[in-house]
């Protein structure tokens, strides 16, 4: 309030000038106006300066820098409550810099530069569904009536699908995807549009069957089944489920694929994406994803609305 007192003093000293006569001339008005504004500006500036000192908060500039490098989608894909929380955690306690799905590799590289840590620019990750049990191949065990949500349906006798590992097809993942990358196909399965996927992992957490996982784009050979049931039981409920026949295991030259708990599993540390297992799998559930994508694109170009054939064949 020193500014205000100063102003009063100035005013008191010059009070008689404009007050006398019928009114100030144009020159005087401009002069007084400039003076008042100047003094006021100076006083308020001083006030703000003092206040900024008195109420100063120490913030790490790195947090703001990282925040600027993040896309600001606040999707929570990193597992924290929004971008600000991620930035703060990175600065305070460190952690992996590539957890931001929407920001992708670019954001990760920027964050790594800001924090001065090394970052192997890993390739893009996308969400993949580990089930090919369409309504045709994996029938329902009952007619379901209720909330159209997989998590709700799973509460009623484990969901309508006879296979207790398979995709329920009620679209909870599609509703949860903030980027519109998942759509429910007419075949009763969720389909991920890889180009739209930001790897936020919302679908991974929301699927009651945990059928999604974030896979590196490099890992082109993938197992599209999640059933740990023994072969006989799987065969009863699904025509395209892993029956643990171990043919893939035998076909692999790199010992990269093993049947563990009745389900083929690929060790990507050893896998060379040769595709030998894809060829031998009798159920067509080991998928060469790149080939499948090519086939799908070709089909899209043909714009034929045909049902998805076995992608693995290609």
């Amino acid at each position: 309030m020193t500014g205000f007192a100063l102003l009063q003093a100035v005013l008191a000293a010059s009070a008689e000038a404009p007050a006398g006569g019928s009114g100030p001339g144009p020159g005087a008005v401009i002069g007084w106006g400039a003076g008042v504004l100047g003094v006021l500006g100076a006083a308020l500036g001083l006030l703000l300066y003092v206040a900024s000192r008195a109420f100063a908060i120490k913030t790490d500039p790195k947090v703001d820098e990282i925040l600027a490098a993040l896309p600001g989608a606040n999707c929570g894909g990193c597992g924290l409550a929004g971008c600000a929380a991620y930035a703060e955690t990175l600065v305070k306690s460190g952690g992996a810099v590539n957890l931001c799905g929407p920001g992708g590799t670019a954001a990760a590289a920027k964050i790594a530069a800001i924090l001065g840590v090394a970052f192997d620019s890993a390739d893009r990750r996308v969400s993949v569904l580990a089930c090919r049990g369409t309504a045709q191949f994996a029938p329902a065990k009952y007619e379901y009536s209720g909330v159209r949500d997989c998590r709700a349906a799973a509460l009623v006798h484990d969901g309508p699908k006879a296979c207790r590992w398979g995709c329920l097809g009620l679209g909870t993942c599609a509703a949860a995807c903030p980027f519109g990358a998942i759509s429910m196909g007419a075949d009763g399965l969720a389909h991920v549009a890889e180009e739209l996927c930001m790897a936020c992992s919302k679908c991974v957490t929301v699927c009651p069957r945990s059928l999604f996982r974030l896979a590196s784009e490099k890992q082109t050979v993938r197992v599209a089944c999640a059933s740990h049931d023994p072969g006989k039981e799987t065969n009863r409920v699904c025509k395209v489920g892993c029956i643990a026949c171990r043919r893939c295991e035998k076909s692999c030259k790199f010992e990269a694929i093993k049947v563990v708990e009745n389900l083929a599993a690929i060790d990507y540390g050893k896998c060379k994406n040769c595709g030998a297992c894809v060829k031998v799998c009798p159920r067509g559930i080991i998928v060469n994803w790149r080939a499948a994508r090519k086939a799908r694109k070709a089909r899209a170009a043909d714009s034929s609305p045909a049902q998805e054939p076995a992608e693995a064949a290609s």
Binding site: A140, K141, Y142, E143, Y144, S145, G146, V147, A152, L155, V156, H157, P160, H228, D229, P230, K232, E233, R236, E261, N262
Partner: protein, 391 residues
């Protein structure tokens, strides 16, 4: 998991063991049976309840009033269908809610307004008041009243007519024109709109002299008080199509009450509080002094008559029975309904006594609509088992 695999031959066989079994059982979460009552049934019942009111409107004002009602309802249905088509939603005109909106809107229009007024109003009501929010059940304001408030704003001269139409039987009409209903600003001989207040204002000059308001209303027609009262009740007065006949409105209200589609608390609180507020709020008399019905020198009969004029004129009862009770926009808690009604009642009285509009019902309900969620939030019932135990 895998350990459960040990008993071959015990796996469940497909459920075809006995005759008569369906291929697949229908499975849902409990309960497994539902009532047969549907939303459409509720809405069509409301239409049925509005029917006496519409009939009364046609009887009082002639066939054109009926045409307006039909136009309004048809426009509402057409608007609903068109908007739903454009927005790629399932078309739900069969549920009757658009008809309710259209008819309700027509009920608060003057009987001689142009045909396009209800068309515009219905479209605004359905499109802005309802479909933009997602359709029936998702709107926060009564669509018909949104339409009506929009019309008041867009076509003031059509809504507040300088000349209200002649009723079929000339009775209190000439007396009440410009009295119970305020005439629009600038009409020849009519007082300035902003300085004029609603029914009480018309009766105001009579107040200091302790003159009966009913007698004052009936005087130009050489009608006695009882006839005036009867006309007010039966609808032999000027006004909006649906608001004139209180008998018809009460009949509709009875239908809704018996079907339990409205709760008695809400209309009662609304009307009761409106009248109480009229009784208690001070107004300026012609000499500029603040006075009111509560003043000591009033006689009971005059107080009673003034209140009955307030009750029976304007849209208070129409609003109380059909509008403030609208399921979608009113609170569901019992306590909330009482508070909601009371708030609405106070607002009606405020707007009637002090406001710039002739009638406060429409705005009072829109205003409480805006506060509905807050009222509900603070009147959520105490959950079972959270009472401190009686020792």
């Amino acid at each position: 998991m895998s350990e459960s695999a040990g008993t071959p031959g015990l796996k469940s066989a497909p459920p075809t063991a006995a005759s008569g079994f369906p291929d697949q059982w229908l499975v849902s979460s409990s309960p497994h049976e539902r009532s047969t009552e549907s939303v459409a049934q509720i809405m069509w019942t409301v239409v049925l309840a509005l029917l006496p009111t519409c009939v009364a409107g046609v009887v009082v004002f002639g066939w054109y009033a009926g045409v307006l009602i039909v136009i309004s309802a048809a426009a509402a249905v057409a608007a609903e269908a068109a908007v739903q088509k454009v927005l790629h939603r399932p078309v739900t005109i069969g549920d009757g809610s658009a008809v309710v909106t259209g008819v309700l809107l027509a009920c608060c229009l003057p009987p001689n307004c142009s045909w396009y007024v209800p068309v515009v109003g219905s479209f605004v009501a359905i499109f802005i008041g309802k479909q933009l929010f997602g359709g029936l059940g998702r709107n926060y304001f009564n669509p018909a009243l949104i339409g009506r408030a929009f019309l008041q704003f867009a076509f003031p001269s059509q809504i507040s007519m300088p000349q209200w139409p002649i009723v079929t039987r000339a009775s209190v009409f000439e007396s009440v024109t410009g009295s119970i209903f305020k005439v629009a600003a600038g009409s020849p001989g009519g007082p300035d709109a902003t300085s004029l207040a609603t029914p009480l204002a018309q009766i105001k000059p009579a107040l200091p002299a302790a003159v009966s308001p009913l007698a004052a209303l009936g005087e130009p027609l050489n009608q006695d008080k009882l006839d005036t009262l009867r006309d007010l009740f039966l609808g032999n007065i000027p006004g909006s199509i649906g608001e004139v006949s209180k008998l018809a409105i009460l009949l509709g209200g009875l239908i809704l009450l018996l079907n339990r589609y409205i709760n008695w608390r809400l209309p009662l609180a609304y009307v009761g509080m409106a009248l109480l507020a009229v009784l208690l709020l001070p107004v300026k008399d012609s000499s500029g002094h603040w006075t009111g019905l509560y003043a000591a020198e009033r006689h009971w009969d005059i107080i009673g008559e003034t209140l009955s004029v307030h009750l029976l004129s304007g849209g208070l009862l129409l609003g109380a029975v059909f509008m403030i009770t609208d399921m979608v926009t009113s609170p569901t808690t019992s306590k909330g309904q009482v508070i909601y009604g009371i708030a609405g009642g106070i607002l009606v009285a405020l707007i009637r006594l002090y406001g710039g509009y002739p009638e406060g019902v429409c705005y009072s309900i829109l205003l409480v609509n805006a506060a509905r969620l807050i009222v509900e939030k603070y009147t959520v019932p105490r959950v079972f088992g959270t009472r401190t135990r009686k020792s």
